[in-house]
């Protein structure tokens, strides 16, 4: 009874303390003496997708710090950030979005959920809140139509372009598109919107090529795939496009494929399942797996400089500095480079050089992104990210990917940036889908040009 009483006596105090902290935390105000640009970072550092979250958001934070440390910010504007843990969960992402939206008198200008579920959960709020949703190689594909989705961008490619590149790569390996006729492709995917995202484009291409497409879903979290791989075996699949999430699911696919004897050289991993963290747990079995990359791994000049400037000063965000230069890390750096370039554009377009920009100004800056090879070289990431140019209607960045293969210890880049074989075709699919969405939801369609 004694300890009960103590706890009960302490309870009101604990609650009061908790409430005080919650209020204090939510309304913490930052005094801005100098010009600052605030970024909200909805990281996912725990749970099955933590390898992705720690690498990606670590890369973003490192680059923001790098810009501050090396150049003193963007034209003198310091980059600040606040983090919030989403656990890769849609409901928590909405909470984080609302929490990060305002910080003192500053407002978030860009949001990057690194995950399709989170992106879908907040996508409807962007236009009203004037925040850019920068889907760096994931998320809702038809958002590439800037007429319907002025606030959403698909830099670094989307899943429809990616699947087209992959199918083209298969055709190359088989010796031409005409050789693809009668082949069987299995799309093995996690049973979520993310896993189903490439299917519309895939079906169209398969129909055109005369390929038999079999869709097999794996219920999340996908740690048991025996029956699915036996089915793949039974169907005598020629290729498998794998759309998984989380290193547990991704490495399980490889080990199960090895167990049923499906050649890894016929497996193609999605960008968000193809990183070192997904291959290493599978051991030797992973050797030969193909992966599409929208940000190539490696120590590019910028990455080396980050190591020198940020890690040299002991300010690095990665717990394990060995991961600097891996797929997820580089992708995060690539995403942050686009933020900073967009910020530079926004300052230039709106004559606010050296000043904080607002959401609509940042949006204009992001839409004006024109990343050329020279630009990439200047930043130090030539070969890591693909060159691209956005416009009012075209909100997808590069539709180009590099194919790479796991050699047992690291990725070997096989190709340069490969575009989708028929971009007009993918574009048509995107516009049809976006128009359908606009009609169903009574959204205005912007006039471009």
């Amino acid at each position: 009874m004694m300890r009960d009483t103590i706890l009960r006596r302490a309870m009101p105090g604990i609650f009061a303390l908790a409430a005080a902290f919650a209020v204090g935390g939510a309304s913490s105000t930052a005094m801005a003496q100098e010009q600052e640009q605030y970024f909200g970072i909805p990281s996912s550092r725990v749970g099955p997708y933590s390898a992705m979250g720690t690498g990606y958001y670590g890369g973003i934070i490192d680059y923001l710090n790098y810009v501050n440390m090396k150049f003193g910010g963007v034209n003198g504007v310091k980059l600040t950030y606040d983090e919030c843990e989403t656990e890769y969960n849609a409901a928590r992402t909405v909470e984080c979005y609302q929490r990060l939206l305002n910080k003192g008198d500053q407002k978030m200008v860009v949001f990057d959920t690194l995950g399709t579920p989170g992106a879908y959960a907040v996508i409807g709020r962007m236009a009203t809140d004037n925040v850019v949703l920068a889907q760096y190689g994931y998320g809702r594909t038809d958002a590439a139509d800037g007429r319907v989705w002025p606030w959403v961008f698909n830099a670094a490619g989307h899943y429809w372009g990616q699947i087209a590149v992959k199918m083209n790569f298969m055709a190359q390996k088989e010796g031409g598109v005409d050789k693809m006729k009668g082949k069987t492709i299995v799309h093995l995917h996690i049973d979520t919107a993310y896993g189903r995202e490439p299917i519309p484009a895939m079906r169209e291409i398969a129909k055109e090529w005369g390929v038999k497409l079999i869709e097999i879903a794996v219920p999340p979290p996908g740690l048991e795939q025996q029956s699915q791989w036996l089915q793949i075996r039974r169907e005598k699949a020629d290729w498998v496009t794998f759309w998984g999430a989380g290193s547990g699911m991704n490495s399980t696919a490889i080990t199960t494929a090895a167990r049923v004897g499906f050649p890894r050289e016929k497996m193609m991993y999605v960008t968000f399942g193809g990183a070192e963290e997904d291959m290493i747990p599978a051991g030797d079995a992973a050797k030969g797996t193909y992966v599409a990359a929208n940000a190539a791994p490696g120590k590019f000049p910028l990455i080396q400089d980050i190591e020198k400037v940020v890690y040299g000063a002991g300010k690095g965000n990665m717990q394990n500095p060995q991961r600097v230069g891996t797929v997820y890390y580089n992708r995060g750096v690539g995403a942050a480079v686009m933020w900073v370039e967009a910020l530079k554009n926004a300052q230039r377009i709106h004559n606010k050089t050296g000043k904080t920009v607002t959401g609509p100004e940042f949006r204009d800056g992001y839409e004006a992104l024109d990343i050329t090879d020279d630009k990439l070289k200047e930043i130090g990431i030539l070969g890591m990210s693909a060159p691209f140019k956005m416009s009012c209607a075209k909100h997808d960045g590069s539709e180009r990917f590099r194919m790479m293969q796991w050699d047992g210890t690291k990725f070997v880049l096989l190709t340069d940036w490969v575009p989708a074989p028929n971009p007009a075709f993918i574009r048509k699919l995107i516009e049809d889908s976006a128009e359908k969405y606009a009609k169903e939801n009574n959204l205005p369609v912007r006039q471009c040009s």
């Binding site: 300890r3 009960d4 706890l7 009960r8 309870m11 908790a18 902290f21 919650a22 204090g24 935390g25 939510a26 913490s28 990281s43 550092r45 725990v46 933590s50 720690t54 606040d82 983090e83 919030c84 843990e85 969960n89 849609a90 409901a91 928590r92 909405v94 909470e95 979005y97 609302q98 929490r99 939206l101 305002n102 579920p117 879908y120 959960a121 907040v122 996508i123 409807g124 709020r125 809702r140 594909t141 049973d191 979520t192 919107a193 189903r196 995202e197 299917i199 519309p200 879903a217 219920p219 999340p220 965000n317 717990q319 889908s433 969405y437 169903e440 939801n441």
Partner: protein, 354 residues
């Protein structure tokens, strides 16, 4: 001193059987309700749309789960599935019936969920306890699978997600967080009042009789079939309405996997931590399970800021959250509602204890 019943005499049956027999309680609840209605004028959008709306909605779902588990004693694990039924039913009703008012659509989606609940409640007549939990688990998986499998439910959206339509009633679009909050508050308040009355009326007594000993209840003339299915239907109705509100007032864009087994478990924890067989407990439990991780996250980020690796603090948050739950269950296995009840009992004596 202030919280005493001395001098309050009940002179009629109506007075004796009212929900809040104590005048202080009536005043308190009136203040609470007025405060809840006025809250949007003093809080910002973050509190409304990221804290209060999901809290109210999940409280409603926890209430549904509590009716089934706490009052009727039927261990069930399918609440997120029934939420999914409600959410997708509401979407389809608004999509396919021109000009249907939102409240009607929500009520009907609750009815849809109730019908599904009755079907999955049928095994409860034969099996009990943990075995029933396993059987209801099937509903969870079946519903999410069916929603994924048949694209009609999602109006053939290629990505398999639905975008909740605007909330329109009486020709007005309830778009701002403030308006959405009021809609949610009104629905939750009415349903909570209904639940309270059911629980303390003959319906609830029937549930409790079945919970405590179903053979005895049957001997006394209660129809087990009716009582159990009634509990399943009402519980699923609450979950369905909650699911519709979760989709329309909170998430807005929903895919079936948002209503996964994780959510079912979280709702189960809300009920256990809040207090089985209490209305109040559903609200307190939902608040704890939903808000504690958020509070820990804010706490760590404000206190430690960027000086400690966020990966470590994120992991620590989960460790602490788990530890709090375990400690709480050791010290107060009957949940927050029991704590609340004890506080009230002490208040009656305060400041002159025995």
């Amino acid at each position: 001193m202030f919280y005493r019943e001395a001098g309050q005499f009940r002179t009629s049956y109506a007075q004796d059987s009212q929900i809040f027999p104590l005048r202080q309680d009536r005043i308190g609840i009136a203040i609470l309700l007025i405060a809840a209605v006025m809250l949007p004028f003093v809080t910002n959008n973050y509190w409304l749309s990221a804290i209060l709306i999901p809290w109210l909605v999940l409280s409603l779902v926890a209430l549904g789960q509590n009716i089934l588990m706490g009052y009727a004693g039927q261990l069930s694990l399918g609440s997120a599935g029934f939420m999914a039924v409600g959410a997708f039913a509401c979407y389809n009703l608004i999509l396919r019936i021109e000009g249907i008012p939102f409240v009607i659509a929500v009520a009907l989606s609750g009815v849809c969920a109730a019908l599904v609940g009755i079907v999955f409640g049928l095994p409860s007549l034969r099996i009990r306890g943990l075995y029933l939990a396993v059987a209801t688990l099937a509903s969870q998986f079946f519903i999410v699978w069916a929603l994924d499998k048949f694209p009609w439910f999602k109006n053939y959206d290629p990505a398999g997600v639905i975008t909740a339509q605007p909330i329109i009633m009486f020709g007005h679009n309830f778009a701002s967080p403030r308006e959405k909050y009021w809609v949610v508050l009104a629905i939750v308040a009415v349903l909570a009042l209904l639940a309270k009355n059911m629980a303390r009326g003959s319906v609830g007594r029937g549930w409790m009789a079945v919970r405590d000993m179903d053979v005895a209840a049957e001997v006394m003339g209660l129809s087990l079939l009716r009582t159990k299915l009634q509990a399943f239907a009402i519980s699923s109705f609450y979950c369905g309405v909650g699911g519709a509100l979760f989709a329309f007032a909170y998430l807005q864009t929903v895919e079936p996997s948002a209503f996964g087994i994780d959510l079912s478990f979280r709702i189960l924890f809300m009920v256990i931590i809040g207090g089985l067989g209490t209305i109040m407990g559903s609200f307190l439990g939902a608040g704890f399970i939903l808000l504690m991780p958020i509070f820990l996250n804010i706490f760590f980020h404000t206190v430690f800021g960027k000086s400690v690796d966020a990966t470590i603090t994120s992991a620590l948050e989960q460790v602490i959250f788990g530890a709090i739950i375990i400690m709480f269950l050791i010290f107060e296995p009957l949940g927050f509602a029991r704590l609340w009840q004890l506080t009230k009992e002490r208040l009656r004596l305060w400041p002159f204890r025995h």
